[in-house]
Amino acid sequence: MTQIHFTVNGESKALEAPPMKRLLDVLREDLHLTGAKEGCGEGECGSCSVLMNGDLVNSCLVPILQAEGAQITTIEGVAITEQLHPIQQCFLENGGAQCGICTPGMILATHHLLKKYKDPSLLQIQEGLSGNLCRCTGYIRIFNAVQAAALAGVAE
């Protein structure tokens, strides 16, 4: 067991966990933040995506000891108090979420993408989201949602 201190969605957390326990499991089991999903457990699908120190990571590949001192944002930390974040609103309005299982990861990936490019081209969107698989939408409406969010000036 090892002692971990880190910040999750702006709150500092301290807990004990086996050092190789996956960040995904710590979030889901220890902190009861179940928004990050396990789709593959091997870094392929992105449904476990979270932001770690501003980077998009697959939390199924991060041993908790690597998260020591880190700033983590999960889907639960994206909405501003009870208000939907504009990216969430755009996913909702554009049909970017169908079954919704990829949606938390997609929204965090979009968040990350729009930090990098304020006004991404379609190609940049396609590449920026290519680590996040969606089996339902064929991605088209997700692209629309990202473009709508960019238009709304989400990056600020």
Partner: protein, 783 residues
């Protein structure tokens, strides 16, 4: 007149959408029950054999575990779908790799993998078969006997129930033959199969989890536990994709978890990881279709013989109905003066194949639409002109003898799709540019139909029921077992109720599908929800309105009880709430219902395979543009046009999303997704080596609808969910033939397959399809 805004045909936000974008939607693995244990499955490591011993490695503290074997099953050791051939747990023999033998449960999830590995099972191996051809040989009989040896089901479908006259074959200008194959495909929902089960000696079994058809699981539990239906309660949790992969399989995993719960005395969560889900659960049936077609020199179909075979895997599961849909769709939207379809579902020692969006139709339509391009070439017509000379039209009869009463205009759909995709100009341009380019571009299309609802007399047998109740606050709540798994069930059913009740969309509630509270509105499959269940919701809403009519306005009240045709409409949501509360105060509760009524003019004969196969059909033309790189041998889809006539579009955003998602799956089916079997074991059971399309792989997908309201569905809706799976694969391979001149006949078509054909020496077989060379009989054999 009503000033109510139009709800049906607009795109209100998805009912459960806010919870989904917030990450608050609760999927089964997000749920924890007090005292909950975790389950795991010990599976067969061989494809076929007799179990000779089971040993438990002493390194594991087995007393901490619950171990379930077939001996613990209180009822029948059988997962019931259509036949009773499928054991819940194997006892003496196994018939496929990954067949469940034992179940384990433990309070600690991480204690399970080592325990599963520490159960040592020995077998006496028996010879196994893995292909339709080996199954047909019947050297090994692995299922059934006599006529049905290795054969789950056969159908014979003949136009007018008559064989094809010999003279047609003797006098036809051309006879064109072809053989086409499709591979297995994994549904690859991003949420794996999973459930949580509880057991109580008095209340019985409760299973909640990810699924499409809660009442299917009730039915399975009744048999395994020998309990009445009231003691088998099933609740659908938010479901992260299904596509048919959670139609029949939850009966297996749900029964397993419930057995562990009963024996351990704890709630048990059984959620597969990706590798287990891919290796052990159902896939799309592989297929082989052989066509033999008589054609006149002016391009008229004279007769067709279609042999359609699917690989059902080791147990029958849903193979007979998958085969049925594949059979009925095999002739496509064309007029066949004479036609014979012989279809069969064969047994192999592969894990059972099951439902997947399209349900047999993508397989037989792939074959037909490739074959149509081949015939066109032989006859010397364009793919377009050849199809135009043979399309079904209003007033025509399908191969099952069904009269097409509702308007059908394939000629117009084809014209529009080719115009919108700029097909002719692109074809010419690619023909000009290809000779000097290493990237060969092509454009091709497929024309097809898809029947909505259960096949034949299925809907009559289902006898679906829908209810609407008033909550104590006076809000209508829909009670259906139809499930939401991304396709939009919740939303469209609430739209239909809102429109019928003249209420705002957000005032309509829909209950969680819980068989303890909702009636059986039938399984959520077969593109039936919008059309069949939607209509029932509309009728139940009308009946709610009729009951409240006297209270809705003084005017209505003065006129006495309303009849459906003159239901009140001139009221506000506030009026409705007052009326509802008034009614509840007086009567305590209000629940109305609507049960399926078969339209009087729908007849189907299972014996002769003739009649009205489906109440309504969607019609479509899909156009694909491809680029084949002759240096890397990879093919990609660069542009896609999907035009379809689907009746009234209830929700344009959801509908387009269904089409786009289906097209992406179709692109994967055609070009990426290959199941590699190694002695009956899926060798690529991971997302790293089973490749589905990513956001970087999808082309622009242009979706357009024509709307001809159908009399069968609510507000004129027909089915939409499966249709988009049918067209992409043949359209893409037709485009690849245009690009490369090579007529590929098999999917998935991977770069290695393209390499193999492009580098083949000319002596090994040429693709010259000059009609003069082809002669009167053109077949693979004479090519």
């Amino acid at each position: 007149m009503t000033s109510q805004p139009q709800i049906v045909g607009n795109s209100p936000i998805r009912k459960e959408g806010i919870a989904k974008v917030l990450g608050r939607a609760r999927y089964v693995d997000d749920i924890t029950l007090p005292g909950m244990w975790f389950g795991a499955t010990v599976r067969s490591s061989i494809p076929r054999g007799r179990i000779t011993s089971i040993a438990f490695d002493p390194s594991i503290p087995w007393h901490e575990y619950t171990i379930v074997s077939a001996a613990d099953i209180p009822g029948e050791n059988c997962i019931v779908h259509l036949t009773k051939d499928h054991p819940c747990l194997a006892v003496t023999h196994v018939n496929h790799c990954e067949e469940p033998i034992l179940l384990l449960a433990h309070p600690n999830r991480s204690a399970l993998p080592a325990a599963v590995a520490a159960v040592h099972i020995t077998y006496e191996e028996l010879p196994a078969i893995y292909s339709i051809e080996d199954s047909e040989k019947k050297e090994q009989i692995i299922w059934g006997e006599g006529e049905s040896a290795n054969t789950f089901k056969t159908y014979l479908m003949q136009k007018d129930q008559k064989p094809i006259p010999d003279e047609i074959w003797q006098t036809a200008d051309y006879i064109v033959e072809g053989e086409y194959r499709t591979g297995a495909q994994e549904q690859l929902y991003i949420e794996n199969n999973g459930v949580i089960a509880e057991y109580d000696a008095v209340k019985g079994v409760t299973v909640q989890g990810s699924m499409q058809c809660p009442y299917y699981l009730v039915h399975a539990l009744e048999l395994v536990f020998n309990l009445p239906a009231e003691k088998c309660r099933v609740i659908q949790t938010e479901t992260g994709g299904a596509f048919g992969g959670k139609e029949d399989f939850p009966s297996v995993i749900g029964s397993h978890a419930a057995l562990l719960a009963m024996k351990s005395g704890h709630p048990v969560k059984l959620c597969y990881d990706r590798a287990e889900d891919m290796a052990a659960t159902t896939k799309r049936h592989p297929s082989r279709t052989r066509h033999r077609t008589a054609v006149s020199k002016d391009g008229k179909l004279l007769a067709g013989e279609i042999d359609f075979a699917i690989d059902g895997g080791a147990y029958a599961t849903l193979s007979p109905v998958v085969l049925s849909r594949g059979t009925i769709h095999a002739p496509g939207p064309y007029h066949w003066p004479h036609l014979t379809v012989r279809a069969k579902a064969m047994t192999t020692n592969i894990p059972p194949h099951g439902a997947f969006r399209g349900f047999g139709a993508p397989q037989s339509i792939f074959a037909l639409e490739r074959h149509m391009d081949k015939i066109a070439k032989v006859v010397g017509l364009t793919p377009e002109e050849f199809r135009r000379r043979n399309f079904l039209a209003t007033g025509g009869h399908t191969a099952t003898g069904q009269l097409l009463k509702d308007p059908v205009d394939m000629q117009h759909l084809l014209t529009r799709a080719l115009e919108e995709s700029n097909y002719h100009a692109k074809r010419e341009q690619f023909d000009r540019d290809n000779p000097t380019s290493t990237i060969k571009r092509g454009i091709g299309f497929a024309t097809f139909f898809h029947g909505a609802g259960f096949t034949g007399s299925g809907e009559r047998r289902l006898n679906s029921l829908v209810e609407i109740e008033l909550t104590p606050e006076g809000q209508p709540r829909l009670l259906v077992s139809s499930t939401e798994f991304g396709q939009g069930t919740n939303t469209i059913l609430c739209q239909i109720a809102a429109q019928t009740l003249h209420l705002p969309y957000d005032q309509i509630l829909i209950a969680q599908p819980d068989t303890g509270h909702v009636p059986n509105s039938g399984p959520t499959v077969a593109s039936r929800t919008a059309m069949v269940v939607g209509k029932l919701v509309q009728r139940a809403a009308q009946s709610l309105l009729a009951t409240l009519a006297p209270l809705l306005s003084s005017r209505s009240a003065a006129e006495g009880p309303a009849v459906a045709s003159e239901l009140p409409h001139d009221y506000t949501p506030e009026d409705f709430r007052h009326a509802a509360l008034h009614y509840l105060a007086e009567h305590g509760s209000l629940k109305t219902e609507a049960r399926y009524q078969s339209p009087g003019d729908i007849f189907w004969d299972d014996e002769t395979y003739s009649g009205e196969a489906y109440p309504a059909y969607a019609w479509a033309v899909y156009v694909a543009e491809v680029a084949v790189d002759t240096t890397t041998y990879s093919a990609s889809v660069t542009n896609f046009y999907a035009l379809q006539e689907v009746g009234k579009v209830l929700h344009p955003i959801l509908a387009a999303g269904q089409i786009e998602g289906g097209v992406a799956q179709g692109i994967g089916y055609a070009l990426y997704e290959k199941c590699t079997w190694n002695n009956g074991h899926l060798a690529n059971n991971q997302m790293t080596n089973y490749i589905m399309p990513t956001s970087a792989d999808v082309p622009p997908i242009h979706v357009t609808f024509e709307e001809i309201p159908s009399p069968h569905g609510a507000f004129g809706a027909k089915g939409i969910g499966e249709l988009p799976m049918d067209g992409p694969a043949p359209a893409i391979l037709n485009a690849i033939e245009h690009a490369t001149g090579i007529a590929f006949t098999e999917i998935p078509l991977l770069p290695e397959d393209i390499f193999e054909r492009m580098t083949r020496t000319p002596e090994a077989g040429s693709e010259s399809l000059d009609t003069a060379v082809a002669g009167p009989i053109f077949s693979e054999a004479t090519a």
